[in-house]
Point group: C2
Chain length 226, copies 2
Amino acid sequence: MKIAVLGTGFAGRTVAAGLAKLGHEVVIGTRDPHATLARTEPGAMGTPPFAQWRAQHVDVALAAYPEAASAAEIIVNLTNGQGSIDALTAAGAENLAGKILIDIANPLDLSQGFPPSLKPVNTDSLGEQIQRAFPEARVVKTLNNMQSGLIADPGRVAGGEHSVFVSGNDAAAKSAVTSLLQSLGHRDVIDLGDITTARGPEMMMPVWLRIFTALGTPDFNFKIVR
Amino acid sequence: MKIAVLGTGFAGRTVAAGLAKLGHEVVIGTRDPHATLARTEPGAMGTPPFAQWRAQHVDVALAAYPEAASAAEIIVNLTNGQGSIDALTAAGAENLAGKILIDIANPLDLSQGFPPSLKPVNTDSLGEQIQRAFPEARVVKTLNNMQSGLIADPGRVAGGEHSVFVSGNDAAAKSAVTSLLQSLGHRDVIDLGDITTARGPEMMMPVWLRIFTALGTPDFNFKIVR
């Protein structure tokens, strides 16, 4: 399938490479491709400049948000949560309409330092904000509460024996996303309900960050045992 | 050990019975023991009247909050989260001072119906509120994100293969609580850090409630696989 991954950070790159490996036609969307490729300094958390990464991943294209989104059947939001609405607005509502929009971003607010708080939280979620802002997109919230390496390679922890949630208003979209998740190796996909249930997995981020600190590694995940 | 469980609801009863079974001297604390025993109607969610439960659990005592707390070495908070500070105030700060206070309550706000939101949330937690209100108590937040039947009998789900968190400022208190958890059968106890980390497990309640709905049973738990 033609998939646009919005976001050039570590998570966007990792997910784009994983999807390309499965044979999907993947393009990374960014605000300004020339600026993205011109950067020569490492990004946040020491990620290499995009052009350097791109040289090793020639199967992944790069395009401006609207171009990437308009050509795609599925759009994946991996932009910074506080800037996601802006990025999707730049991609163009008309380029999202009728399409599956997989929202993996987290609304982390780092303005007060570490640990971040969430904004929105509790009575709203980023997933809901995106669905409200783009009512014709078929938003599915998923995969936000695990490190990005696990998204495309769940087997790297506990042989893939862990769980992933989906939230969304469109049953067919959730079903298609569930199939995509299974093709990536996710075996336990739990449908939480409509898009308001995205609050749950987003609100797992505070404990995720604390477990990360306690264990000293992001290589863990939540398994719902029953 | 002498343990006071504050709260006469389903969770308080279940935990009190489980601790008594292990040989601890357990008293349930309530605001007005006479009123608690005089009730003849079922409680919320169809729990039988307390006197009826008590007749089958003669090894568990009943006392007013201050009496229960003053005689105890460990106090367990299983009161309604929105009323916990009031209940603990009624128990008396002098009866909590220097003692381990295990906080299992959740600050669920049902004023807007189901699903509840949390109050406090995000930049504060009930665990922190309790620690601030009773600075001489040694507060340990734990066990709040699983159904109460699992607290005292973790083996009833997945042979006990799941995880429990502890948060608190007092290392010795966390160590003692970890031993108590292990004596109940909890094998994977993860120390998240100081009491501010209680935000994490409290903010897992929204997803807990949605998983409960999705699975149709509260008999599940989170296992941190790594």
